[in-house]
């Protein structure tokens, strides 16, 4: 046999196995439905529904001054961030409402507020914040501080006879430009994040389940006595499942993200899909290693969740990566998702190319190769 014939036979075998995987998947109707749901409706719901921004924080007001200044201040708490939930006259009423969770903030403007401001005295307002939901509470508090501060500054300037614009006082103003998401549409971030979650989950689960099923049924022995290498057996699964996941990603991208949320594709779509393929290959490595350790599909699903759970929570789509402790960041060096996040936002929103992304791409290649290699090593060993 010549080298060319040998290569052709090798390819024929890989293609036969890959086609078999696709056929098997196409016959698994419940799984297919779940796959389609995960990349369509579930992305739609997460994009439209999940929001981290402060919205509709219920605000109770106890205005003990009833003056132009107090009304001016209260007027600055505006939707969509705040929603006025009513006025109260008894501080205990406010406390009760907080306890019951019917209000998030209670603003108390003291008597003589206007008078104090007009006469140039220092004065203060009291704000009670429910921070059970820490991020929301903290951002409500931060907004309130900003509102109070700017109201104070303006009042101070006005009392000094100056209007803010012409002030020749040493003031620092921040002139910020919003980049990459100019309308600050949070749905972009949430829908993309959810898509990445789904890609990662299926990349671990699909090939792992396919491999374990062969072990359970005993078909893997038939493959082992055939002229096939462990690489062909394992890689055909990754190949088939990557194809399916890429197709599902395209469905989410061009069926939901683009038409409904107007998420742009600033960079090259081909590059995005290529690198998504790389991410699936790398992540599948985890699943394949798990599949060589597990005895049945239930076990492999549990192990996969162990690997995927922290990856989804700690790689930077659920909470900001930079704010995590150093040691968690160090562990997450081994999470392909961490690099894939940089790549996705880079290509889709920032229009980045390989010249900017070579570092995360290199890291993923290294990680994927290592994982796949150790999966193959384990695969050979488990039967001996």
């Amino acid at each position: 046999m010549t080298a060319g014939q040998r290569a052709a036979t090798w390819g024929q075998r890989l293609a036969a196995l890959t086609w078999k995987e696709l056929l098997q998947l196409s016959r698994d109707v419940p799984l297919l439905l779940f796959l389609i749901y995960s990349f369509s409706l579930s992305v739609l719901v997460s994009g439209a529904g999940i929001t981290m921004q402060l919205t509709n924080a219920e605000l109770l007001v106890q205005d003990e001054d009833q003056s132009p200044s107090s009304r001016e201040l209260i007027h600055r708490f505006q939707p969509p961030y705040f929603a006025l939930a009513g006025a109260i006259s008894d501080p205990r009423q406010g406390l009760r409402q907080l306890d019951q969770g019917r209000a998030m903030l209670v603003l108390d403007v003291p008597p003589r507020f206007h008078e104090a401001l007009m006469s140039g005295e220092r004065t203060a307002v009291q704000l009670l914040v429910d921070t059970t939901n820490a991020p929301q509470g903290l951002s409500a508090a931060a907004y309130t501080v900003r509102i109070a501060a700017s109201f104070g500054t303006e009042t101070a300037l006005a009392s000094a006879g100056l209007s803010g614009a012409k002030a020749s006082m040493p003031l620092v103003s921040s002139a910020h430009r919003v980049w990459f998401n100019p309308t600050q549409d949070e749905r972009w971030f949430q829908s993309i994040s959810h898509l990445l979650r789904m890609i990662t989950l299926f990349a671990v689960l699909l090939p792992a389940a396919a491999l374990v099923r062969e072990k359970e049924r005993g078909t893997v022995e038939q493959l082992l006595v055939s002229p096939l290498s462990p690489f062909q057996i394992m890689f055909s699964k990754v190949l088939a499942m990557s194809g399916v996941i890429l197709l599902a990603t395209a469905l989410a991208l061009y069926g939901v993200l683009h038409p409904l949320f107007h998420v742009p594709m600033k960079g090259s779509a081909a590059l995005f899909f290529l690198l998504t393929g790389l991410h699936v290959f790398t992540t599948a490595g985890f699943g394949l290693v798990a599949a060589t350790l597990a005895k049945n599909q239930a076990q492999v699903a549990m192990m996969a969740l162990f690997a995927v759970g922290p990856m989804l929570l700690l790689s930077g789509i659920t909470s900001p990566f930079e704010s995590m402790p150093q040691w968690v960041q160090a562990i997450m060096t081994f999470s392909p998702l961490r690099y894939y996040i940089d790549i996705t936002y880079g290509v889709m929103l920032k229009g980045a190319g390989l010249d900017l992304l070579w570092k995360p791409v290199g890291a993923m290649l290294l990680l994927g190769g290592t994982l796949f290699g150790s999966g193959m090593w384990r695969f050979r060993r488990q039967f001996q």
Partner: protein, 659 residues
């Protein structure tokens, strides 16, 4: 029906007009039978005949759509009714050790079931000791259930079912997948519990040679009864003789015989024909006429076994169904498949260790091209490991070998291209169709498109798969799946086949067809097959056999060699017909006859001096007022050979362990 009267206190189970439906599928259609107290009643029949459905309904765990099922005169028509009888019943569901807890030890499992059934402490201790002793499990009291072999698991399952001394034991295929020695232990417990405790048992089995142990039986097929009564009565339904002889060329002889007889099997060099004639002379004359002018040698006749009768009944039922094609078409042996000289398999001192455990210990054997070679042994004897080494799944720790002309150590890749492999699980993709499965393996073996098409057509024809081509494999009956698996293993025209328990779970007709295919492949195409099996009646089809025990080959030879060897050592088998077999057995055993065992209503003993022993037997039984109706010598079965060899080795190992 056979029951004397409806109110007879003797009746333990009465089933009449029983109907069970699963959605559209009618599993049991109008079944009647009655089980009397103290009886071991058998349900036999192919897969899907409806045996399990009836047994589950009688155990009170499955509802039914029509007719009645009464147990202890309680009509099982509601959950409450079922609850009432459950404490008097023991039920062992189908599957090895499925009712047990893998993480508990042998003793913990037994104790758990005893506590569940509120067995008093003293009774538990006594019964446990007795049951563990008969099953020879007492040495493994503290071993975890999951570490037991399949046969041991099943024996433990039976102990847990019997620990509360149920009046009725319902055992669903308790011996399927269990090695012959464990199977004998199993029957020993049943026989003792029936004789000593007066237990009644309803048992189903796939092994026809076991069916003769039943007092009475019903033979089911497609949810109906084809025959019922004592084994002797069922046997008399299809009268005839079995004629065994040699004739050459064997293939041509078989082809000629098939034009006249429905049951023609080739067993090694012999042919085995079931004739409708009951007179020996007429039967032999008929065969000679059919064979003319081929020679006939080494001819002898036997009474038919129950299996011959069962197959005859099934064949009558399914007359006109698709049969395996009469002749193999041109096989289109692929040009790339290299022919080779020398033996098909040559194993030299093969060793395999798993940690400190030696699974295979210096195994050597040769297998010629075109030979069917059987590897026999209990679960865990090392058969599968030998096959895994020869097929390259597991590397050997020591030793050498050549498979299909290539060296095991250096040419693993070449071996894989030249062999076919089929395992007990029938490694097919159940969610692919028949054709898709064949195509997949054709591609894996690198067949070109035209070659693949030719081979696919050949396989469909050879295995009788036409009509099934586009069905999902998971929906096919077991027998068809098995032939498809064989077809897939043959897609690249291999010269050597490895078959690891290829027939477990397949019904008698399916098994016969399968063996017919194998022997044609061997004789017509020169394909060598290495096969392992638990059905020792099947091992008769092999040209040569090797018996493995504890990782070693302890006996090797043709089936008849092995039988003669053992006959020389332990004596001849005598079958005694007597009116009260249970009581007679106790007397016979007391008189010191070795290997005395009950087979249905007949007693089997081994004798070194048949004429003297027959006289002694008559004398022993006459003393207690019993008369022997007949004593006749029988050929040892391969199962007798297997059990006798393994028991001797176990005794030796036991002695060494406990000096």
């Amino acid at each position: 029906m056979m029951s004397p009267s409806a109110s007879s206190p003797d009746v333990v189970v009465r089933v009449s007009g029983f109907v069970k439906r699963y959605k559209q599928h009618l599993a049991v259609n109008g079944l009647d039978f009655t089980v009397h107290r103290g009886e071991i009643y058998g349900l036999i029949g192919p897969d899907g005949a409806g045996k399990s459905s009836v047994m589950k309904a009688i155990a009170g765990v499955l509802g039914y759509e029509g007719g009645t099922a009464e147990v202890f005169e309680t009509l099982l028509d509601s959950e409450q009714a079922a609850e009432q009888v459950k404490r008097r019943i023991g039920f062992l569901p189908q599957g090895l050790g499925l009712n047990l807890y893998p993480e508990l030890s042998v003793e913990e499992n037994i104790d758990f079931f005893a506590k569940l059934r509120l067995v008093p402490e003293a009774d538990l201790r006594e019964r446990k000791a007795r049951l563990l002793a008969i099953t020879r499990l007492d040495r493994f009291r503290s071993r975890l259930m999951k570490q037991l072999s399949g046969g041991m698991k099943q024996k433990l399952g039976l102990i847990c079912t019997l620990i509360h001394e149920p009046e009725l034991a319902i055992l669903d295929e308790p011996t399927t997948g269990v090695d012959p020695v464990s199977r004998r232990d199993f029957w020993a417990i049943l026989a003792e519990w029936q004789a000593v405790k007066g237990m009644t048992a309803l048992v189903s089995t796939a092994y026809m040679d076991e069916a003769v142990r039943f007092h009475r039986l019903s033979f089911l097929s497609h949810g109906r009864v084809l025959a019922f009564g004592t084994p002797a009565h069922v046997q008399s339904l299809v009268p005839g003789l079995v004629v065994t002889f040699e004739s050459t060329p064997q293939l041509e002889a078989a082809a000629r015989l098939k034009r006249r007889y429905t049951q023609v099997e080739s067993l090694g060099p012999s042919l085995h024909v079931f004739t409708p004639e009951q007179e020996e002379e007429a039967a032999v004359a008929g065969i000679r006429q059919a064979l003319e002018p081929l020679p006939v040698a080494h001819l002898h006749t036997d009474e038919p076994e129950l299996e011959d009768v069962v197959v005859a009944l099934l064949l009558k039922e399914q007359d006109g169904q698709a049969r395996v094609s009469e002749r193999l078409g041109p096989s289109a042996v692929s040009a790339t498949m290299p022919q080779f000289d020398g033996p098909a398999v040559e194993a030299k001192e093969l060793i395999r260790d798993f940690g400190s455990f030696r699974a295979v210990d210096r195994v050597s054997f040769d297998m010629k091209q075109g030979e069917i070679f059987g590897l026999l042994g209990a679960n865990g004897a090392g058969k599968t490991t030998v096959i895994k080494m020869l097929t390259g799944i597991v590397p050997p720790t020591g030793g050498a070998g050549r498979v299909a002309g290539a060296d095991m150590r250096t040419a693993g890749g070449a071996i894989k291209e030249r062999i076919g492999y089929m395992s007990q699980a029938f490694s097919l993709y159940l969610d692919l169709t028949v054709i898709e499965n064949i195509r997949l393996f054709a591609d894996i073996y690198g067949l070109a498109r035209r070659q693949a098409q030719q081979r696919t057509a050949w396989i469909v024809d050879m295995a009788g798969l036409s009509g099934y081509e586009h069905d999902r494999t998971g929906r096919l009956p077991m027998g068809v799946r098995q032939r498809l698996a064989l077809g897939c293993a043959l897609v690249h025209s291999p010269r050597v086949l490895f078959l690891d328990e290829p027939t477990s779970g397949v019904d008698p007709i399916g098994r016969r067809r399968f063996w017919e295919l194998l022997s044609r492949l061997a004789r017509e195409e020169g394909v060598a097959s290495l096969i392992t099996t638990h059905y020792l009646s099947e091992a008769e089809h092999c040209d040569r056999l090797a018996l493995m025990y504890a990782g070693r080959i302890v006996a090797e030879g043709t089936p008849s060699d092995l039988k003669t060897q053992v006959e020389r050592e332990v004596g001849q088998l005598l079958e005694i017909a007597v009116d009260k077999p249970g009581a007679a057995l106790a007397q016979v055993a007391k008189a010191g006859f070795t290997g005395a065992a009950l087979f249905g209503t007949k007693i089997h003993v081994l004798s070194r001096d048949p004429s003297r022993d027959e006289a002694r037997l008559r004398e022993v039984l006459a003393r207690v007022g019993m008369t022997i109706a007949a004593v006749r010598p029988r050929m040892l079965s391969l199962e007798d050979v297997f059990v006798s060899r393994v028991m001797a080795l176990e005794r030796a190992a036991h002695k060494k362990e406990a000096p």
